[in-house]
């Protein structure tokens, strides 16, 4: 597939992922879902699963696959819809999201056959898993697979993220890519008001990483960032908008986790279709 067609496909995939995320959220009823931080990472996930990651539906544990780790475990709307687009999760299973007996929990539960590499939900742990995975692949002489770890910006308050960052640089893990979904809004408000972390690119660089800032909703920028070959671990700082795509949700703290009414759902879907 040529570059332009690939990006066109990413666009269609992200559109469908947003619609499905809304539908899944609506179905949860009063339980609600992590909409804001799910919608901010849609393009990141669409590009990864459409154009970047090597995976094998027939053999999900194929050694040569790339590993994707969702460290911000609450970003399941984007994870499950991406895995659905990729073919790991059937359409009807998306309908079971957050119901009893489903495997589609409110945070991911490890199920490699469904493309879910690790359980997450407790923040600040995914980058360590990525470092361990990268070291293990080196031990196994797997020089082709890459490891992508997606973190939230609020999540980076956790000190363990920086322990992991230091170790990734120390062990020169050039097959490791951290993506920071920097939507600048966490549960209690703007990240700079809750806990000022300063510049993520400067932080990662000071830890010995390469870092690049990108528009986290630009499919092309994301694609270009992910296809770079580096000699150091790479941090892709994706500047995003929480609740992206639905104007009444965008940059609203209240939509970090919320219920979606039928009326709101219809308004949101209409907006998506108009912008398509």
């Amino acid at each position: 597939m040529n570059h332009d067609r690939l990006l066109e496909k990413c666009k269609a995939v992200s559109h469908q992922m947003r619609k499905d995320s809304l539908k899944m959220s609506l179905r949860t009823g009063a339980v609600g879902a992590h909409l804001g931080g799910g919608l901010s990472m849609i393009e990141i996930m669409a590009v990864l699963y459409t154009a970047i990651l090597k995976y094998d539906l027939k053999e999900p544990e194929n050694e040569e696959r790339d590993r994707f780790i969702l460290s911000k475990g609450h970003g399941v709307l984007a994870l499950y819809t991406a895995l659905n687009q990729a073919g790991f999760i059937p359409d009807e299973d998306l309908d079971s999201f957050k119901s009893n007996e489903t495997y589609l929990y409110g945070h991911p539960s490890m199920d490699i056959k469904k493309g879910i590499e690790f359980s997450s939900g407790s923040l600040g742990q995914g980058l360590s898993l990525g470092v361990g995975t990268a070291l293990a692949l080196r031990h196994k002489k797997n020089e082709t697979s890459r490891i992508y770890v997606l973190l939230g910006d609020g999540e980076c308050d956790e000190g363990s993220v920086w322990e992991a960052a230091a170790s990734a640089a120390h062990y020169k893990l050039s097959n490791l890519i951290a993506i920071i979904d920097e939507n600048e809004l966490q549960y209690d408000g703007p990240t700079h008001e809750v806990l000022s972390m300063g510049s993520f690119s400067q932080k990662f660089e000071s830890f010995g990483w390469d870092a690049i800032n990108v528009d986290g909703h630009s499919l092309k920028s994301l694609y270009d960032a992910f296809t770079q070959i580096r000699e150091k671990p790479l941090a892709v700082i994706a500047h995003t908008i929480k609740g992206k795509g639905i104007s009444f949700m965008e940059n609203k703290r209240e939509w970090h986790h919320s219920r979606l009414s039928q009326k709101q759902y219809e308004v949101a879907i209409q907006e998506l279709e108009e912008k398509k």
Binding site: F118, L129, V131, G132, A136, G159, E163, Y171
Partner: protein
């Protein structure tokens, strides 16, 4: 190749549990290509210097960053490696408890977490370095096998058994250099199968870790008073050998003995089994009182917490006088 010769057993005891662990660890790669060792700036303390010299590319020093160490070990375990992660017992179980819970408990990743100098052995460093809660914490997390060897010979056995065990394991190492010897020769060790070291009819003493030796010593003094004691080495705290506990119900008193808080450790685990037994004798739980005492040497703290042989004998004797 580990040989259980009298000379080796003596050497291991002299080195203490950390040294014995290091010796066993260095043997594992002979049979297991996937074994790797992680430490959080405690390479020498973990007894892993020899391992590092022999297998430099299998030793990962993660710096003083225990949370990351456990997460990294989890990533390695999922990819099929057999990672041992070592640090002080208290940091292994409390500092990074959530990483332990999520990775070892929830995801069942086969990390072998090694808690060094558990109990009171480094008590002079203060309560920050004592570990009197680790069994309680680890026992309450599902899916983790907990091993608590009695002496350095059993530390060797437990380390090798842990390496062969598929799931997550917490290996609790107790005592100091010059640990007393319980096992003077080779013997059959199986995870989950308690070892009866001595038969007896009046009292059953179920002990774990360093306290197994003290249980044997106490039993000798009690025998001198005409009280017949059975002594059991409960080297696996989880899964607990329930049959051995039920078998201990024949006497007039069950005593549990541990270098751990009286809350949540071996005593609690045994009580949980006894609670469901129709016919059971009373249980005396001997362990570390629910308080942090003034820092002091190992011997000083054993005395302060009432865990010397004489104190143990008195406690058992008093209780036995009440219930017989």
């Amino acid at each position: 190749m580990i040989e259980y010769t009298p000379k080796n057993i003596k050497t291991w005891a002299r080195l203490g549990s950390c040294g014995a662990f290091g010796i066993a660890a260095t043997e594992i790669p002979e049979e297991d290509d996937n074994v790797v060792m992680l430490t959080s700036d405690l390479l020498y303390y973990s007894g892993l210097e020899r391992f590092k010299n022999k297998y430099p590319d299998r030793l990962y020093n993660m710096g003083i960053a225990e949370q990351n160490m456990v997460g990294v070990a989890a990533g390695m375990a999922k990819e099929g490696l057999n990672p041992f992660a070592t640090t002080y017992a208290t940091f292994a179980t409390t500092r990074c408890c959530d990483q332990v819970r999520v990775n070892m408990g929830y995801m069942k990743l086969g990390i072998k977490l090694v808690g060094l100098t558990s109990g009171l052995s480094v008590g002079i460093l203060g309560a920050t370095h004592m570990s009197i809660e680790d069994m309680a914490i680890m026992r309450s997390i599902p899916n983790i096998t907990i091993l608590s060897p009695a002496d350095c010979t059993e530390t060797i056995k437990a380390t090798i058994a842990a390496a062969k065990h598929k799931g997550p394991v917490y290996l609790r190492l107790t005592g100091v250099m010059g640990n007393p010897v319980v096992y003077k020769q080779d013997y059959d060790y199986q995870i989950g199968k308690a070892i009866t070291l001595k038969e007896g009819t009046d009292i059953s003493i179920i002990a774990t870790g360093t306290m197994v030796y003290y249980a044997l010593e106490a039993s000798k003094e009690l025998e001198n008073k005409g009280i017949s004691c059975k002594v059991v080495d409960m080297h696996t705290i989880k899964p607990l050998d329930k049959k051995s506990i039920k078998d201990a119900c024949d006497g007039k008193l069950i005593v549990t003995l541990e270098e751990h808080s009286i809350i949540g450790g071996l005593g609690s685990a045994v009580a949980e089994v006894l609670a469901g037994c129709k016919k059971r004798p009373p249980q005396l739980i001997i362990g570390i009182a629910d308080e942090y005492k003034h820092a002091g040497s190992y011997e000083y703290l054993l005395q302060k917490y009432g865990l010397t042989t004489t104190q143990i004998v008195n406690k058992i004797n008093n209780k036995y006088s009440e219930v017989r």
